[in-house]
Amino acid sequence: MPSRSRGWLAVGAVLAAGLVLAFLIDERYHHRVLTLVFLWATMGLAWNIISGYAGQISFGHQVFFGIGAYVTVLLVVKAGLTPWIGMGVAVAAAVLAAVLIGLPTFRLAGIYFGLATLAYPLIFRIVMDWLGYQEVAIPMKRDDPGWFMQFTEPRSFVLLALGVLGATLVLSRAIETSRLGYRLRAIRENEQAAEAMGVNAFRGKMAAYMLSATPAAVAGAVYIHAILFIVTPDAVFGLLVISQTLVVCMVGGTGTLWGPLIGAALMVPVSEILDSTVGDRLPGIQGVVYGAALVVITLYAPEGLYWRVRHALRARADRAAAVGRPPILAPADEDGARPGAGPVLLEVRGVSKAFLGLQALSEVSFEVREREILGVIGPNGAGKTTLFNVLNGFLGPEAGEVRLLGEAVTGLRPSECCRRGMGRTFQVVRTFPRFTVLENVMVGGFVRERRVGRVRELALAALAQVGMAERADALPGGLTTLELRLMELARCLATSPRVVLLDEPLAGLSADGVDVMIAMIRRVRNAGITVVIIEHTMQALLRLADRLVVLDQGRRLAEGPPGEVTRQPAVIEAYLGKRWLARAGSPS
């Protein structure tokens, strides 16, 4: 893959440039600035793992920076342990802290998560003060300075910081190009869709948090040894640390390893120069510049410089390459004989679910047999989508059980249901908006396969299956409703499901679109996959379903072949209305 090796090449080039710069520069002060650029880029990259890739904005990431600094320095002071080993201990402590913080905090979503993270460094600050560590100086070790990271040659610190940055770049690049990277970004783009596609969002976030704590702790340790020499709670747990990190990431762009690198290269020298020239007359100048940078960049280029430039270049390339694309051909209708239903695949027994007194489902039971198309119909509010949410684990039922292939799946996460063979699409298509169509489908493919290259092939095959191969590189924003629904179907198929739950796959489609979709669903079944489908329109389901389950006000009203079900008076009354009765009664 050329683009892949090009990425690694670019990482190498950055490090080589850093090395050349380190030896070109001679002045002590410039070495200091260069060290700071590397360290803040590292800190930005660390933050970017949890907040950029996984989209969980953390306002307390300096907690790991501070732990790195304090643990390393206290080990030197109290135990005479070299920081080279101390850093390892510090990383272990930071990762442990990440687990302890993450376990409760990842139960919170969005804004609540960000607010909660704010509290941790503040608590550390107070506790450090209270423990009497308001100021801990690194003791001088004249006999063995190198062993204690006390270089007299400032270039050594530059190289050390560059080494840390290099390792973090490699880590970031490895994440970006691996299954984990795709999964983290999928969580950021749409957590529910990611879960339904077999991504355990909690585990993904936790992995990202632990990984992102590591470079932050190392950066903190090196920062104290190279720059501050004295650790104070405010200097490492304070608001300025996270502000600097955010500035570096926001200016450069998040969700890519190039963002923090660009941000640090631009912003750190500017603020250092200001600080050294007017800093003693205007003590807050650094904070003003950072704050203003945050405001300006959010207002005028919220995606950051990297993405801004990249989109501009992309748009030009796209315009050059714009060609008429062939429309999706309706595949031949492969109806033929309906295959005989197999053994029971999915069993729903006495499922009940209430929302604040509204009984959405009460004691619903039915079975789904292998290779059948089961239609679930019912008027608005009958509990159809709630039923799906219970089936694939978005909701836990108050009572009842769901069994897939004889095993209970009630109470499992959606990702686990998906892993066990339950695919799902949504009533309103849930895309990963910043992924291409191909990447959207790849997220599903990772359920059965770890290697990215293999998954790409798998996803292309799934796209070809639904006639969407031509659109692999498009973004979801540019697709028609039919194409979106087909993409979601392909994403679902890429998980190699035993059964797919389709939530109103025909909604919003034109008559032609409905035909394409119906043919597609038949194809899916003919490929040996069981289909459960929610639909509003009886007409379409009559053409498609082998059996129907009718829901009304959360109860199962009827179950059986379409012809029988539509003749039951209760069904007619609840759903079809008198006119249907008149029509059904007349000979046709």
Partner: protein, 294 residues
Amino acid sequence: MAELVQYVATGLLVGGVYALMSIGLALIFGVMRVVNFAQGDFMMLGMYLTYFYAISGRVDPLLGALLSIPPFFVLGWLVHRGILARVTGGDPARQHDAQLIVTLGLSLVITNATTMILTPTPRGIPTSYATQAFAVGPVLLNQARSYAFAMALVLAAAVYLFLTRTDVGKALRAAADDPEAAGYQGIDVRAMHALAFGTGIALVAAAGGLLATYYPIEPTVAGNFIVLMFVAVVLGGLGSIPGAFVGGLVIGLVQSLTLLVLPFQLQNTGVFIAFLLVLYLRPQGLFGRRLRAV
């Protein structure tokens, strides 16, 4: 027992001012869905304005706090017009991060610019009542805190009446509940946002003025209070005005009662732990409604 009553009384008095600050934050969040990081910095500016009223015009800080309401309303309105209006009104899920970062940036600018211009030296307003206390039986109530508490109650009640009894207040609440539907009813949602932001800033500035009667004034004072406000607002259910008021009182109590069991330096850990507990156990707050999960 008397000691406990004393701690409860002190906690409630301090909590009254926290309650007023938090109402401002809750109003902004309730109407605009914006978490304003810079709220503490506007409070700090309010402290300084009250200080300058007192120093240059010999205005009593209790009156100074009231007099800071109009200028800060205008300031808030301008900040909304110039900055926040550009990152609100779209899809909230996509804009939250941008809003948090913009207000964090604002906070940095305000704190550091104040340090640059007014120097980091702490200042205080000398008043006759700052060191006096009312004796209620065995319990001593600091006079400055008692006056501040009473003023905070009056202002909070005024806000409540404004929101529930006036047409503009009702329109504001409609815009908060459902901006789209409010728009169809002819309510100018953008103007409501500006009104909410201006009012929220004015309230927190007034709270700052009241605080200035007994708390040292310095540029970095925001850091000590912004988290308290977040806690109070989350405790009360993000966006609920009565909730934020009760939340503020609770924070004052927790802070004060923590002293019974923990040393003084750890005073705020009690608050942070309460904050985390509420987030974990009841993220919708004591008064809020749970948002839809899927």
